[in-house]
Amino acid sequence: MPYGIRLLVSGERALFCRPEMKVERVSYDVITPSAARGILEAIHWKPAIRWIVDEIHVLKPIRFQSIRRNEVGHKAPAGKIKQAMNRGDLADLQILVDEDRQQRAATVLVDVAYVIAAHFELTERAGPDDNEGKHLDIFNRRAERGQCFHQPCLGTREFDARFELLSPDAPPPTPHPDDRLPALGFATPRDLGFMLFDIDHAAPGRPSLFFRAALQDGVMTVPHPFSPEVRR
């Protein structure tokens, strides 16, 4: 695969929320391709390129923990903001958190580490100055120095991701021998069911795309966005 990169990302907690269980959030077992793309984009992205995640290597056992927090029930209404703009005062523009309380639990992953193997393709918005080498260089330089556009996160922003660039010739990190269990797809492949692939922001209504995820020897192979494996 041309111009591939491998990024080791890890963190103490992670939350890759299942869309069907988002009121009381429950994480997928492993990072989704869309979250992996978000991490790469936090380091380098331009409209000229599109990140394609090829593989996700799961390096740690899949473990969960529950956290319940006080959250607010509403978003900021655009209409009210506009009224306040027109009126020129802020008097009732606020959310009173004590009166708009929702206690929600989140089932989050604990102690995660992944290798994201990905490459990028040039999009139709690429200009004459854009070539793959240039963007690859920028990404590698930033990732190597720990630079980022914003600190990448593992699903939600309170769970920050630490990242480390793996050099192209380095051997791939593998799970600890004790962790090579069927839960990670060692010995027998593990079916993870349908998983969110990404959200098609270009299409009207922003539909969610899904794919059938499986772990084989700790590796989840991710289909190409335009392949038939991705269900629209």
Partner: protein
């Protein structure tokens, strides 16, 4: 407002003495604990709440420093009454047509977002989701705070307390029917408090200059954020909290917007260990297993590794 041009990462150390820094709604308001390791936790949102409260308290009503997500104890209704009494705002008929004023175009949505950023400190700093029906945009703020975790496992202690009064008549009767005949205890209600005898917590934060460009988070805001982090516990005393204080705020300033080093490598330069007879001992050092539990900040030692700092990174000790 010119946005900040540098990336920052910071480490905040704060402690609690005989108090509950952050109750867990799932566990009857016991202090949050990582169930596998017994390390204490304080959620990101809890810390953000305190920053908001501090800014609201210290800069109430100042232009551009309003707080959108408020606790209801704020007397804004009072404010509104005052506004309504003044001529130009008096019962603007537009106010009643709520819900019909959604933005129609991207430009309009941008204008709304920009206006919210300009007026509200918390929207500018932490971002906000602003939508009803038609999506008017989501602001991602430059400041990101992670869960705080204690340096060592904490012990959550449950303390029973009594109140010499009953809540209502029924409760009083119920108590009287018991066989307890001592007058003094007739109306007594039992309650429970959870405290952590002592805990030193460490929080990590990230400030992205690139996201700051989008919300207009400027140097003044940065200064205010750091002041808030240092002083927020001073204005958050309550029966539940005990004594909480910010102990150290160590800021890593990068000389560029994208930064010069990975945040985690920088965070590893701040090491917190036990102070055993004036000596730094790693908390995982088995040799300190028999040491008495930490009960005050001086039982800990903070070391900052300044050697071979990456080029373009500066350490600023704010506290």
């Amino acid at each position: 407002m010119t946005a900040i041009a540098n990336r920052y990462d910071f480490v905040l150390l704060f402690d609690v003495t005989r108090g509950n820094p952050n109750g867990d709604p799932d566990a009857g308001n016991m202090p949050r604990i990582d169930p596998e390791t017994n390390f204490g936790l304080v959620s990101d949102v809890s810390l953000k709440r305190k920053i908001r409260n501090y800014v609201e308290l210290a800069h109430r009503g100042e232009e551009g420093r309003h707080i959108y997500v408020q606790e209801s104890s704020i007397l804004n209704e009072q404010h509104r009454k005052a506004y309504k009494a003044v001529a130009p705002y008096k019962d603007d008929p537009k106010t009643d047509k709520a819900g019909k004023l959604n933005p129609r175009t991207d430009d309009e949505a941008h204008a709304l977002t920009a206006w919210m950023c300009a007026n509200f400190f918390d929207v500018r700093t932490f971002g906000a989701v602003m939508s009803t029906g038609i999506n008017c945009g989501q602001v991602r703020g430059p400041v990101q705070i992670a869960f705080a975790q204690s340096i060592e496992p904490i012990i959550a202690q449950e303390i029973s307390i009594t109140r010499m009064a009953a809540t209502n008549e029924a409760e009083k009767k119920q108590k009287a029917e018991g066989d307890d005949s001592v007058d003094r205890t007739d109306n007594r209600t039992m309650g429970r408090k959870h405290i952590v005898p002592y805990g030193l917590y460490r929080a990590h934060g990230f400030i992205s200059a690139k996201l700051a460009e989008r919300t207009g988070f400027d140097e003044g805001d940065l200064e205010l954020l750091f002041t808030a982090l240092a002083e927020m516990f001073e204005h958050d005393h309550s029966a539940a909290r005990g004594e909480m204080a910010s102990r150290k705020l160590i800021v890593f300033k990068h000389d560029t917007a994208l930064g010069k080093a990975s945040a985690h490598a920088l965070f590893e330069r701040v090491r917190v260990g036990r102070n055993i007879d004036g000596e730094f001992r790693d908390v995982e050092d088995r040799g300190i297993d028999n040491a008495p539990p930490a009960r005050k900040f001086t039982d800990y030692k903070v070391e900052i590794d300044r050697a071979n700092l990456p080029d373009g990174v500066e350490i600023i000790e704010r506290l």
